[in-house]
Assembly symmetry: D2
Homo-oligomer: 341 residues x 4
Amino acid sequence: MVFVLKQGAPEDKIAAFVKKIEAAGCSTFLSTGTEHTVVCLIGHTAKIDVDFFVQTNDIVEYGRRITEPYKAVNRMVHPDDTHVRAGDVIVGEGYFQVIAGPCAVESEEQIIGVAQSIKESGVSMLRGGAFKPRTSPYAFQGLQEEGLGFLLAAGRAAGLPVVTEVMNQTQLPLFEDVDVIQIGARNMQNFDLLREVGRCRKPVVLKRGFSSTIEEFLMSAEYIVSEGNPNVILCERGIRTFETMTRNTLDLSAVPLLKQKSHLPVIVDPSHAAGLRSLVPALSKAAVAVGADGLMIETHNDPQSALSDGAQALDLDQLRSLCADLLRRAVFEGKKCNFRS
Amino acid sequence: MVFVLKQGAPEDKIAAFVKKIEAAGCSTFLSTGTEHTVVCLIGHTAKIDVDFFVQTNDIVEYGRRITEPYKAVNRMVHPDDTHVRAGDVIVGEGYFQVIAGPCAVESEEQIIGVAQSIKESGVSMLRGGAFKPRTSPYAFQGLQEEGLGFLLAAGRAAGLPVVTEVMNQTQLPLFEDVDVIQIGARNMQNFDLLREVGRCRKPVVLKRGFSSTIEEFLMSAEYIVSEGNPNVILCERGIRTFETMTRNTLDLSAVPLLKQKSHLPVIVDPSHAAGLRSLVPALSKAAVAVGADGLMIETHNDPQSALSDGAQALDLDQLRSLCADLLRRAVFEGKKCNFRS
Amino acid sequence: MVFVLKQGAPEDKIAAFVKKIEAAGCSTFLSTGTEHTVVCLIGHTAKIDVDFFVQTNDIVEYGRRITEPYKAVNRMVHPDDTHVRAGDVIVGEGYFQVIAGPCAVESEEQIIGVAQSIKESGVSMLRGGAFKPRTSPYAFQGLQEEGLGFLLAAGRAAGLPVVTEVMNQTQLPLFEDVDVIQIGARNMQNFDLLREVGRCRKPVVLKRGFSSTIEEFLMSAEYIVSEGNPNVILCERGIRTFETMTRNTLDLSAVPLLKQKSHLPVIVDPSHAAGLRSLVPALSKAAVAVGADGLMIETHNDPQSALSDGAQALDLDQLRSLCADLLRRAVFEGKKCNFRS
Amino acid sequence: MVFVLKQGAPEDKIAAFVKKIEAAGCSTFLSTGTEHTVVCLIGHTAKIDVDFFVQTNDIVEYGRRITEPYKAVNRMVHPDDTHVRAGDVIVGEGYFQVIAGPCAVESEEQIIGVAQSIKESGVSMLRGGAFKPRTSPYAFQGLQEEGLGFLLAAGRAAGLPVVTEVMNQTQLPLFEDVDVIQIGARNMQNFDLLREVGRCRKPVVLKRGFSSTIEEFLMSAEYIVSEGNPNVILCERGIRTFETMTRNTLDLSAVPLLKQKSHLPVIVDPSHAAGLRSLVPALSKAAVAVGADGLMIETHNDPQSALSDGAQALDLDQLRSLCADLLRRAVFEGKKCNFRS
């Protein structure tokens, strides 16, 4: 159940209203949008008489029962799209953004070169892994803290906000200067991590677990938002199916579905989904057309000698020409973009 | 292994060449393209010395071993795209086509009205089910032969070629006036049916089984083509996954993959994949962008009272506005189309 | 909705009762068990007043609404287990049966030898493929009619009923002397074939489609039984999942689930599920313990040189020792069996 | 690559041997079994000449290349089964153990009562969740530290070692008195947690991720063992498939496969797999027959009012009669067990 408050409702009246609801046996949390504040009720809401609360509290515009298990991320709570701001880059709100960079930061020189090049291609955020979740304990695990430093330096030099993956909540203090925290597919249901990330206000890219349903995906976003961090970008990156020609199966129907159910921005990672460089351009184009707010594309200065996931990375020239095409397409869709042509 | 013959190779020399190969212990079949004839070898090809056969037969342009199990549908055999012609409608060769119509033909009046309307929206082929494969023996099974008659009449009246599903090979004589035979997802590995359909030369829409790999899909096409019918249109229509919000998961990566591996045209059915009307427009747009040669969209004059699959059908107005949008998109992609704006 | 009739209800009264129901707008079919006849109603049953029909028709013991889409195979219609008789072999009713034989009949000598050997091991039915559904049109397709003749001869010589797969309904006349018709996984939703097989009274082994739900599986059995053939044996043979070490994933939970939902006997095919010989013994033992009524085990005189599926076939000695173990286990479970120790 | 050392190889010679290998450019770790020490080589092993190292080092019994990515958990490294000891309970080595208890500890009284009852039924370890990973942030998250205290008290009172789930590595200090640490399915690829757990020597129950392949499962065990903790019990608990009647699909073929590939003990959790109480007995029996070393069965004093997962929990009487049956079955399989009849 939610109560949408009138614009400009004064804080003391909100506090008093919340108190009344909690006295009735529910817990609450506030979702503060650009125009309205929404009070979400959690718990035994069956006993609450919606109409009574609306009529007897003049700061309430309307109340509504929500049957879905996700509340704060539910579009019914917040009918307009939300957007997430990272530095001067806006994800959502009619913008189309390309995030690019290598799977793993491999050296300072490498990441600085990549950042410079992709910036010129029109990319608006730099991604790169410092801490890498790898299936094998014997595989390259990333340059760790040193890699994080290289990445931040590269982003600063190129003037690009950086996105990088956190592997557990004890690492969060290291991420203070990171612009956007990525939560990887394998951590989508690491609930303690979600909660911690929800307690900071940093933008988060939350990747869909490769065998998570849309509803579970939204529930994981709910963990973050209900802790007070509304800056969540959902990222579809493929699900595990029986098909073996691709690494995963990109589920593009997730994009319009997520947008129907939720107000959060949605981006697409075609690289991890396909696992094959040759499919990335076609899937990127499809992602623009299906309504995504952006793309995250794996890009490497020298894919042949990449320390991880080289088979799916574009090289810098391939990215440049893809970006130019994506720009045309974003314009065709009526999107704004930070791309330079 | 294949031998691509020089343009204009005379028939008697081809026959002599085939004889030699068969004498060497392989069976063969011919794939006749617009420019080249290709001789495909099946069986114990290990013993064949490719270079020797090329050097000693002047009608041979080049020979090549093919490791994939599909030969005739393999792009290596036929590097250019092929196209399929149904009446005056071309699928492939740079055209983008929309096929539309109801899941089931319900009455003569209904299908004639639908055909007229979709024709005006720019649709180039009429689909409709006369024989319906239904999970339940108690569900509506289609109007059968009578429905087929209505469908053909409606197509003729509107000047649209018709596509309709065959359920088993004993029905084929009834399909003489049908323009395009559809083989449904559940029959994708009904090998006897594939073979029979391969023995006629009618265009075929072959739908991907909902749990078939891309390779199995191509092998089923191979059944048809290797029997002598090159007129196969592949149709991606969603695969079965763990996700429950949609009926199936549309696998759009299949489109570029199929086009890399094979020379056959590929269309997309977003309606059966999603099972939800509200996702059809977004998925249709994505299909155009990902490189499909067309779409098959379920459309009904009155979806609320449809006898089957109403939840996924567009109404005639929704189709009209979607078609107008798809036309713009096809033009943007540099495709030709039969649409009228 | 079903009406269970009193024991010994006279035929004319049954006919009159059926007429009344049909006058009320429903269609019906009769399911005749060993003790009771059950009248199943299909169609607009909402209008039928169950109590009224029970009170006003003295041949009716009780009536009940059935919410599941499967009626005739529903355990609510027939609370006791049913069994299927093939020659003198009973599947169900407390018996545990092993069906064995090669994937494909390869020669008369081969199949006669296999039949003799497995008979001595305690196997009670001979399986062997004459018509083989193969993913590739270039793979061995079985010896066809000749193979069927060899199989029947081998079964007769060894005194074993034979099970073999039909690929389409036009082949049914060839199956007149076959004891049990197998419908393969790929044909589980070949509804026209199901209907035809339902019109004969021969026992049927219906294999679960490799991506069919339990409910779809029961609906396919319903197609057969509702046409008048109650002799259906359900066969779990693995489902398609993301796991790649095995060919399919054997779903043993399907066995108790099918037995809860339906009264039909259930057997298990561990060979096709695993695709690996080394897993067959463990999975066979598990199938006995989980409550299956029998097993279908691929067995070959010389698996190394089998023309199809050799990797999953046991050799004759492996089958002998497995059968001896399975006999002990069937006895432990309190099952009767035709095995000789 | 591994080198299996001769029994009784002296420590200084082992150290010298390891030094030589590392000088050749590989890193190593030791796996110390009851009879042999094994030196596993990680890294660029291509340059290592196995024969040369065997011939020139007299403490080496034999050397072998291992192509699988898992080394320390590979059966080739350790051909005999290993076992894990928790208190006086042995998992593996011919024992069959039942672990039981509620999904969540709900009160001190509850867990003490459950522990007492299941002990009398023959259960050898107590499980219960104190920290619960829940899809929804609004669902009951467990009694946390207080629940852990109740669980430990209940185990001590009943004389049963306790198993409970850790959700992240910062909780490990709280688990000092816990006998067996459980890593849940959602954390199977939480690599930092695996590494931390590998640094203590406590027994670990590692649950298979619900969409993890067998190889990924073994790689996660490798993370723990390669850090020095050999006490890993693998637990199959169902995988995510398209089937909707059960919560997950129990993959019993994983048990013999894991035992072929690895030397670690394997147990089965039928409760989470099925999600339905009525399937637990049949699946438990199948698990015994398929070769599992034990079962983990969800059991609650009052399943109807359980705070989580009530639908899949047995009540105490159901567990008692199931345990009695499982004891008979374990004896039939030639297993030792701690059960009292």
